[in-house]
Symmetry: C2
Subunit: 201 residues, 2 copies
């Protein structure tokens, strides 16, 4: 990597860091592009070199932690599906908590609308999550852990729905309850239920 590429990478990183801090602090609607660039120590125009629109930075802000846990999930060996998922849910909500409520609000807003997201492969993040989870389920089917007739697509949708439901619910309540305690109790009730009838014993 030459000096230029390195400097470009640094600039983008400065913008993401500044963006995350401000997002946590004030929420997306309360900050403007100039706030971010000032905090990052660059000019306003620079922002638009790295992000097509103001909203696009949110994706980059949240991508790192969420990608990490997706990777973790895929690497978990020797665990059953009903062991893997509560762990994933827990880690997901850890990310949610560490990104802060305002970041999650904006993230959910972006995720709600596939058209409202840049056309890069990163923009398809939730589809990636979907495919990743679907893969985990298909894997469980092929290992014989789940029955052959398991409706994989449906269950994946349900799991995605549970994840975003938890996050939305936490945001709605303005972060009033402990997300991790709650998630764990939630999982205890839900995960087994989802898979109960499809597990081969």
């Amino acid at each position: 990597m030459n000096k230029r590429q390195k400097s470009a990478q640094e600039t983008k990183h400065k913008l993401i860091t500044a963006g995350l801090e401000l997002l946590k602090e004030k929420g997306f609607d309360a900050i403007n592009v100039e706030d971010i660039t000032k905090k990052a120590g660059v000019a306003k125009g620079t922002f638009y070199i790295y992000f097509k629109r103001k909203e696009d930075i949110v994706l980059d802000i949240s991508r790192v932690p969420f990608d990490k846990i997706a990777e973790e999930l895929q690497k978990m060996e020797g665990l059953t599906i009903t062991e893997k998922l509560p762990h994933y849910f827990h880690r997901f909500m850890e990310c949610v908590e560490s990104c802060g409520i305002n970041t999650c609000r904006q993230w959910t807003r972006d995720v709600l609308d596939p058209n409202n997201v840049p056309e890069t492969k990163d923009g398809q993040k939730w589809k990636y999550d979907f495919e990743m989870l679907k893969g985990i389920l298909e894997d469980a089917v092929s290992k014989g852990e789940l029955k052959k007739d398991t409706p994989v697509e449906l269950l994946t949708h349900i799991i995605i729905s549970e994840l975003y439901g938890m996050m939305t619910c936490w945001c709605m309540s303005d972060g009033k309850f402990e997300p991790l305690d709650w998630t764990d109790r939630f999982c205890k009730i839900q995960i087994d239920a989802i898979f109960k009838q499809y597990i081969r014993r």
Copy 2:
């Protein structure tokens, strides 16, 4: 009601109708206040007599159908909690579908942030939904249908989480799947699971 009040009501109604049509068609970010007022046949300033901010109209657009089903739920007599809720979920998703995906997107966005909502009692809509659902559960406990040690608050949060999760998931997928079919299958799996351990047999 005198002539003035009647005309004011009509004007507000015209704005809500125009707003709903445009919201369904294009989505919240793609329309501006002048689009709405033009379609309603009034001046731009008129909008701000009835709504403090652009976002506030979404609440009024969705309030009518959702209030109706909340009322229905409270009136259902002689049904158990595990019969009432699937019906409510189904009706909820019917509303979601009839309001259109773009309206739901914006509605979810508003609901995500309690601070981003007018200070009227209507603004507390989701809290109202929460209290209403909680009441239904408490009722089931007092009738002896659910055990005395049922964690009512937790279950209410889970139900709210399921509702918004379903809606979010549907919006994310850009309305690709049939929300009603899906909801019914979803309910079949989830509702019994949620209550299973708390039901007195």
